[in-house]
């Protein structure tokens, strides 16, 4: 497994990655955010899963920095403020090129404890729930926050998550009719398609693949594309293993399993 993954890291295959409709629609949802409006970026992801979404997060931040919109980051767990601080540092040059300044055009509001309770309280009254950003600056001194009172003041929510979206849908989409795009680790994507087809999500960026496709849409190839490239060989290896496993089982183990196992009873 290890060797199969090392080879493409050292020597990329360079295969082109087609862009899926899911990513394209999400990109369009961000593209359609009206000028002058604000985007909320809630983040909730275990630090262990962060490498999967980091490339996509960076390219999405670039997308927002390129547009005449403001955005504010808010975190539902304690690790995310520093992770997002790191991501913002990586797009600092890009922000400067686009004349975007921290505090004026974007803010990192930091961690608010309480999970679903925090989500609901923030939606209801932003200034009371987050009276200061993650560095302790009161929001009265942050122009980006002026005019933001409730969830209704955000034109779009871009939820970066490695966990269930249900709580955010309950507290924002059901309660305020917010438009939400989820950028989730890809393992969660099959669990979220019911929300996408119901329109509760207006977009769903599927993890590392979606991040890489987003890089293509932004014409800014980065770490995400390099990773999906390296995954190709890994998948071929897994598929071969699965096929081999089935063949070997057919010829060797099968007769002994003919006796009823609990699995066959089902």
């Amino acid at each position: 497994m290890f060797i199969v993954l090392v080879i493409p890291v050292v020597r990329p295959l360079g295969l082109p990655l087609p862009i899926s409709d899911m990513t394209r629609e999400s990109y369009q949802a961000v593209e359609n955010v009206p000028s002058g409006s604000s985007v909320m970026i809630p983040v909730y992801i275990s630090i262990g899963l962060w490498p999967e979404v980091e490339p996509g997060t960076i390219v999405m931040l670039k997308h927002l920095l390129r547009k005449p919109v403001k955005f504010m980051i808010v975190c539902w767990a304690a690790d995310e403020p520093k992770l997002m601080e790191g991501a913002l540092a990586k797009v600092a040059d890009f922000a400067r090129e686009n004349n975007k300044k921290y505090g004026v055009d974007y803010v990192n509001l930091g961690f608010i404890p309480g999970m679903e309770t925090a989500m609901a309280a923030f939606a209801k009254d932003v200034p009371a729930t987050a009276p200061a950003d993650t560095y302790g600056t009161p929001i009265s001194q942050l122009p980006a926050m002026s005019g933001i009172k409730t969830a209704k003041d955000f034109a779009l929510i871009l939820y970066i998550t490695g966990s269930d979206v249900a709580a955010m849908i309950r507290q924002y989409v059901s309660a305020y009719g917010s438009k939400m795009v989820a950028f989730a680790t890809i393992g969660w994507v099959p669990s979220f398609t019911p929300y996408l087809s119901s329109g509760q999500l207006v977009g769903l960026v599927p993890g590392v693949t979606g991040g890489a496709q987003y890089e293509l849409l932004m014409k800014s190839p980065g770490a995400g594309l390099a990773t999906t490239d390296a995954l190709s060989l890994g998948f071929i290896y897994l598929v071969i293993l699965a096929i081999l496993g089935n063949i070997m089982w057919q010829y060797t183990e099968r007769p002994s399993l003919r006796t009823k196992t609990s699995k066959e009873m089902s």
Partner: protein, 259 residues
């Protein structure tokens, strides 16, 4: 006065909670309808039997959840399974060991196991070492479990409760020592694929609660489970009726639900 667009939601909420309360109160009066058979329970008996024949240990993990969050019912179901398996183990003299991650679950698991041994008249075989608290994070459980699987010849691994990322590691490790496995989890659906492929039997989502309720013989749990059926049946009916009406381009039902 009712907020626009939320009338039907309110009615649905009242219906769901009404149904659950009605059946809980019926169950408390002793009127319990027959529940469908749950194949996972048969599999548990079989697994304990196998472990006994092989002289191996049965490992029980009631998930990594606690008792104060949404994971609580799964944990309670897992503990009910511990009670059931402990009875079987006490009867046949099988070795059992249970691994617990959250401190608050320890007393509940100990009590349950002890009561099971007492009920079988084998209290002298009960040993406090059978319930082991593995403090720390999810990986702590995985590492502790792996050590025990090798050292104590685990022949059956029963994991019913709330699981997260460590589920795959646990299931693979147990498969590695050739243990027969029964696993189930409800709220975190992303862990079910591992159980469905690696384990010999899987309890899907709500089946976990059903298994727990049946084994606990607690009227409240059984009543609640029974009370959840009418709302699901209504949802079933609404979906079938709704799609037929939609195909006929009749939209009053959809409008009603958005009322």
């Amino acid at each position: 006065m009712i907020a626009t667009g939320r009338v039907f939601q309110l009615l649905a909420l009242l219906f769901v909670s009404g149904s659950i309360f009605y059946f809980i109160s019926r169950a408390q009066k002793g009127k319990v309808p027959k529940l469908r058979s749950i194949a996972g329970l048969t599999a548990i008996r079989e697994a304990v039997g196998r472990a006994t024949e092989m002289g191996g240990t049965v490992m029980l993990i009631p998930g990594i959840g606690g008792l104060t969050t949404v994971e609580a019912p799964e944990t309670v179901a897992g503990v009910s399974v511990i009670g059931y398996v402990s009875s079987l183990a006490a009867r046949y003299g099988t070795k059992v060991v249970s691994l617990i991650r959250m401190p608050e679950v320890v007393p509940l698991a100990e009590e349950t196991m002890k009561a099971a041994f007492q009920k079988e008249g084998k209290l002298e075989s009960y040993n406090p070492e059978m319930v082991r608290f593995v403090s720390g994070d999810q990986w702590g459980v995985a590492t502790a479990a792996m050590g025990i699987m090798h050292r104590e010849k685990v022949a059956a691994n029963i994991m019913i409760g709330f699981f997260a990322g460590e589920a795959l590691a646990l299931a693979e490790a147990a498969a590695g020592v050739g243990a027969i496995q029964i696993a189930g989890t409800a709220t975190n659906t992303t862990q079910l694929p591992w159980f469905a492929t690696i384990c010999d039997y899987v309890l899907f989502g709500e089946e976990v609660y059903a298994a727990g309720a049946v084994l606990s013989e607690n009227p409240q749990q059984i009543g609640s489970l029974v009370g959840q059926d009418p709302p699901k049946m209504v949802a079933f009916g609404l979906i079938l009726l709704g799609i037929v009406l939609h195909l006929l381009s009749i939209d009053w039902l959809a409008k009603l639900m958005k009322w």
